[in-house]
Symmetry: C2
Subunit: 370 residues, 2 copies
Amino acid sequence: MSTVDEQQVTARTVGSVRVVGAGLLGASVALGLMAKGVDVIVHDASPSNLRLAIDYGAGRAAHATDSPALIVVAVPPDLTAEVVAQELKAYPDALVTDVASVKVAPLAELRVVGADVSRYIGSHPLAGRERGGAISARADLFIGRPWVITAHAGIPAAQIAVIEHLVLDLGAVPVAMSAEDHDRAVALVSHAPQAISTLLARRLVDANPGSLELAGQGLRDTTRIAASAPELWVQIMGANSQYIIEVLRDFRTDLDVMIHALSDQEARGARKSLAQILAGGNNGVSRLPGKHGQDRRFAQIVVKIDDRPGELARLLTEIGELGVNMEDLRLEHSPGAQIGLAEIAVLPEAEERLVSELEERGWKIAGAYQ
Amino acid sequence: MSTVDEQQVTARTVGSVRVVGAGLLGASVALGLMAKGVDVIVHDASPSNLRLAIDYGAGRAAHATDSPALIVVAVPPDLTAEVVAQELKAYPDALVTDVASVKVAPLAELRVVGADVSRYIGSHPLAGRERGGAISARADLFIGRPWVITAHAGIPAAQIAVIEHLVLDLGAVPVAMSAEDHDRAVALVSHAPQAISTLLARRLVDANPGSLELAGQGLRDTTRIAASAPELWVQIMGANSQYIIEVLRDFRTDLDVMIHALSDQEARGARKSLAQILAGGNNGVSRLPGKHGQDRRFAQIVVKIDDRPGELARLLTEIGELGVNMEDLRLEHSPGAQIGLAEIAVLPEAEERLVSELEERGWKIAGAYQ
């Protein structure tokens, strides 16, 4: 029996893995597997992308004698089915997966062209960054993230296990779903939010700069993902349009109710319908699992620190001396400000003692919240 | 001449300040002024709120002999004009301001009731938290935030200066605007984003839990402000409906274009119109000033750290020893994970040396980005 620690360093993945497409996801898969000691072959249609990825440590170049056990196709959604079909043909003993964020369309296309889908299992890691390319890749990109595996009917369990091992080797959490359930779910939690964030950010294009100076964290948060690459999102939205439209139409129905309530506030029930929409938003947010904004499992302590090297280290050293483990830490200071604020998350039972001990040691506590 | 340091500790505000309404904003104003040594009188219609605020250090109770120079009304938007009118009458020598997030409606109401608006100057600090009440108040809430001052025609410069001093004493940045420009601006940067975030979060109410397990940071960010208090937002939206509706109608026009493009992708120009909307979102986000997501002024270095007390302190101590000043710090670790990631922002010119020095000292660098 291996211990948890051994499991963390030993790869479950057996044999060579070929990664096709050295963008953010492909190169991150390659880096993550390399860190586990797996033999990773990387390929990209662009010779310069390929060289960059290899320089970056994301695998080695392909040899004619390669016989990969597993192939991970990480190309744009529009090309996914075509490349998966090529790889299935070129490596008749390999299992092939892909990481595209839509799952119904690639499988349907593969069936149309008569590809050997008995060796194909679609998958999708829910991970990413606003910046793409091998240059933004990170071995730790998938740690703790869900990775959906959409095995279609007739795929043997042993083949599914190969994909699960890949997912676990990259630190992600395997989630089994049908392709349809996956596409419906990501339309709601990823594609429609992308569309809405984009449409909101578009309203800023003609705003006068004085208005934008008043922008706060709320606007920044709601529009952050609108900075994502249009080329990619045209493909994703196109490939999952059916489910996205369902969400957007329901959204528009509510939007019309809201505009109507705001237009005639004296109408009977106008304020009530506005309040119901706002309360509905509360209910929706509260259904999101786990950490959301401030983590309610922890108490927050805000400590003022002078903005000079070593001050934060001194604070953390003293917290360590007190035997308190920080669950999270956020440092905030405005440009030019002479003090910063360290927001420290600790277990609720540690809060009171930590605050009093830090105050005794001369630290200024700006706030403490359960 | 005073130095910058002296200016930071000496209050510019002269005389007593009466704060009416001991919620988040009122109590934060009180705490901030108390920290500057100002005599702060706090009042709240609710005796228990008032006691809580006083216990919390947010000012003293009112005396019959009080003669405040300045009154800050921090009550819900619906009550603002009424309470401002009462205060103008009760204290005929005082200047009165308010902090409501709409500015046209209160002034208009004051004129209707014949209040002495020559002693009233509306203002609005762009600051807040999702949690309200004196218990969430912070002396530092306004530091570095814009605080709009909407002086109407005929207000003398000396009176405007009193409000500016209040704003500077609380660490905020005074911004002069007309009430109309203010209301149009906040409709765009605050009220419409609140509406959109709420409508998006509402889509989650009927989602199945499995879908929500796939939610990532994008959905969390876009729906975070949907957790705000419905009672407050019914009032804000009601009071600024005209400008909010303008933004929401333009949003809906784009939404219809997007739904249409997704519905018939084979139509001529469908993909192009989708790409244009997405690119428009990019352009909109790029217009937001200052820090947005990752701060591009700084290089980011990601260091792996073991999840045990003292490790982060040791890292920061060593960074301090190297003479490098951290501009920002974010600690991330997934529940149960045995390592954490410390994302450290430093000036770009310090990045290369810091990475090599840390690696020499045995730290694992997960990534470094400019």
